[in-house]
Symmetry: C2
Subunit: 487 residues, 2 copies
């Protein structure tokens, strides 16, 4: 089990701590702020309700989180040390000197700095090659981007080790090809922020109107494709070069305020704060954080279903952690996951349609186990569900760890009869009984289960026939089933 | 029925045409490009597969789309005229002169211009008050934002009429408080584009890496909250004013290239085009358009379920169009909608879990009809589904217009027994039989249906008892039900 040291808490350090701990790392925190434990605790709470539902697999057991009285004690055993102290170069240099005097020689030190280049951070360090930029984005426990910026002083094998550690906790290290002030994203944010301040100052739009201009328009495009791919499409059949030539001349027009920086007078600050209150003041910061996390989970899961953008990253992370099939003589563990935030409804529990989604996922996994995987389906055959019977026995809330155990009641000819049991721990939440038909995707009609699947399916059917008959099979709505009947 | 005239086709004009036609307006197009009909046809095709699934109600019948040989003929009867000709002021002035010589005096002329201010467009016009900026975002048929920019020359009642017309087709007119070059969004896009060109030129990152820096990080934040609300959260408990004071100093640092504009040499253009090919060249523009639309639909529907941001706009638009309950002596029409793009799966049809989602929506609507609406649920009582039986009889593809007719088989005491039939036209796709339990949301246990619901429920039960008994009720998986049995 690996250990991360978090030097400097706050929203960013706390987000790092949550990302590592929930991915099974031990986390050692040093932060002189007397409020650090409370603040990090609040970030951990936000992370626990939102992050586990992003994966379609079970998360590892949470690592241990410890708070330390000295920086030296916190970094002592760490594999990776994350520095998130305030943005003052002298303070950062001083922090690295203390870290390097106490940490392992093979430890890596990542800085959350928004603006400094790694070569600036490394000045006068005992071992400059240990220090690199790892710039995260708030909330660190949900957003996958890390700007990983090494300098020429960082040996390639250390950079690669840093990359692997970040990947292992579901982050996407975007390695810059050259160092630059403020890396990539903050340069964009800076340019937009400056323009936005002017617009508020000049009464072109309020803060709320500017946010709407972003989130009802290009914000939706950027969430999934970014800038260049969006423009590639806008260029149409004529291509990217044509688009640039067309768009080029506007660059010279006075469409931005450029070097001008609005003076941050008390009046301008008050104006922005007042508009921001009017826009979102009905919600506390804590409520806003949760709304943001709910939205991000919903968007990320939507992109995951599309296997696109940040959702494709989540799928790749899941694939790298996929479990084996287990012992076929027992019911097969076809799902093990947490209930995501976006699966609940107005009744405060997992919505009924999500029960069938879970059973559908269990069926997909069972199909995969018998060999009906993506390649098989691409070959033109699959299973369609003909009939479903669900009994809801108990509720599940967001965040609940659930699993499905699946039995195959029969399978052969053109049909397969599955019985799923959905549990939270020992507690049976629901059963799903499903009749599936093997089909040709060309004719969309039933066709005999192919030899490629029949052998494995038959072995499972025979193994499961020896299990005790499950309660609830063969029931109609409002009527008892044939539980206990000989079959 | 209203008529929109589209002057200038292309991606933007075609997007406007699709937005209006799919919302039931007649659309008259004038575009001298001999390819116009094909190009607009392709945009229409993209819109038809993506837009109807954004609403949870049935779309109106599509309006008639006509192509005209002259501008004068196209604008003659139009309520709203959208100008999307190239960005040259003389060309726009000439176009307005021809439009105003032929159009109705009460027609409104909206310009898609990215950069010009309305006062520039209105120069020397016969009726300056008719002309205003309506700046849309590609794809116009999916993104709700329109920057509506009037000048002092536009009478308030005309601006209000323009706003109402845009709202009626599901757009969000964001009215600027003062005119400014490039309005709001394009000033941001311009600043970001300029920075991005520098980074590619200087080999800091490739086009693909820059897109990832956006869509794995702040792009996800901006899609749902924009800039100021995101920073409000980052400021934490100390508030917005504190955040601005902290962030303020960086504005003076060299984090952007500011006035510098990279020269668009053939080498730089080729470099960007090559990187863009490497990033997305595996997909044709048509395929990219569809991927983008699939992603946007998935994100917009995720936000709709959260009733947040652009999703809250969709819900407001639905609420304004919600149908009445109809005749309770017949099965109740509880759902009428199109199958959204994000409801299909690897088998190329509507996923089984979405059948239960539709039946769940039908149940929600039935609950609402008997008085179990949001207020009732907020009062602490609701219905939980105890049991479900679904028979899948035929497939549904994305875009299919589907509806659900619902019968109440019994209702009283603590229970309600519903039977939903899901159709595409006359074709029965599936049935859903559901036993629901009336519960207290405090105790999470069954409790008698309250008097507030019982009267209406009983009237429906008695009316539906006179309907012929539906086929398929009371079946278990793999077994016939009690169809035709006396009840």
């Amino acid at each position: 089990m690996k250990t991360a040291a978090i030097i400097g808490g706050g929203v960013i350090g706390g987000g790092w701590a949550a990302r590592f701990a929930l991915n099974g790392w031990n986390v050692a925190v040093f932060d002189p702020d007397p409020q650090a434990q409370r603040k990090i605790g609040e970030v951990m709470e936000n992370a626990r309700r939102s992050l586990p539902g992003l994966t379609d697999l079970a998360m590892p057991e949470e690592g241990a989180l410890s708070y330390h009285a000295t920086l030296e004690e916190a970094v002592e055993r760490a594999d990776l040390i994350i520095e998130s102290v305030p943005e003052r170069l002298d303070l950062k240099h001083n922090t690295y000197a203390r870290i390097q005097a106490a940490c392992r020689g093979d430890a890596i030190i990542g800085s959350s700095t928004s603006g400094y280049k790694p070569s600036q951070l490394q000045q006068d360090a005992a071992d400059p090659g240990q220090i690199m930029v790892m710039h995260p984005f708030n909330p660190v426990y949900l957003l996958p981007l890390i700007e990983l910026v090494p300098s020429g002083a960082n040996p390639a094998d250390r950079v690669e080790r840093a990359r692997q550690m970040l990947l292992s906790v579901g982050l996407h290290p975007l390695q810059l090809r050259a160092e630059i002030d403020a890396h990539i994203a903050d340069r964009f944010l800076e340019a937009v922020w400056r323009e936005a301040l002017w617009m508020v100052r000049d009464d072109i739009a309020t803060t709320g109107e500017i946010d709407n201009a972003i989130r009802y328009g290009f914000g939706l495009r950027w969430a999934q494709m970014g800038l260049f791919e969006t423009y590639r499409i806008a260029g149409g059949e004529a291509g990217m070069a044509h688009f640039i030539e067309q768009f080029g001349p506007c660059l010279q027009w006075p469409w931005t305020r450029l070097t001008d920086v609005p003076e941050l007078t008390p009046e301008l600050i008050a104006k922005i704060a007042d508009q921001s209150d009017a826009q979102s003041g009905g919600l506390s910061i804590r409520e806003l954080e949760r709304a943001r996390d709910d939205n991000l989970v919903a968007i990320l899961r939507a992109l995951k279903a599309r296997d696109w953008g940040a959702g494709a990253l989540l799928n790749a992370h899941d694939r790298a952690r996929a479990p084996g099939e287990g012992d076929i003589a027992r019911p097969l563990r076809t799902v093990a996951r947490a209930v995501p935030l976006d699966w609940t409804d107005y009744n405060g529990h997992m919505n009924e349609a999500r029960y069938l989604q879970v059973f559908g996922d269990a069926t997909d996994r069972f199909m995969e186990i018998i060999g009906c995987d993506a390649d098989y389906i691409a070959g033109g055959q699959s299973f369609f569900t003909a009939e479903t019977h669900i009994r809801h026995l108990a509720e599940a809330r967001a965040g609940a760890r659930i699993h499905v155990d699946t039995r195959c009641l029969s399978g052969g000819g053109k049909k397969m009869h599955l019985f799923h049991q959905l549990f939270a721990g020992e507690n049976l939440l629901a059963t799903g009984e499903h009749m599936l038909i093997h089909v040709s995707l060309d004719t969309r009609r039933a066709t005999a289960i192919s030899d490629a699947l029949a052998g494995k399916l038959d072995r499972i059917v025979r193994a499961h026939a020896r299990l005790p008959h499950p309660e609830g099979v063969g029931a109609a709505v409002g009527k008892k089933g044939d539980a206990g009947a000989a079959r």
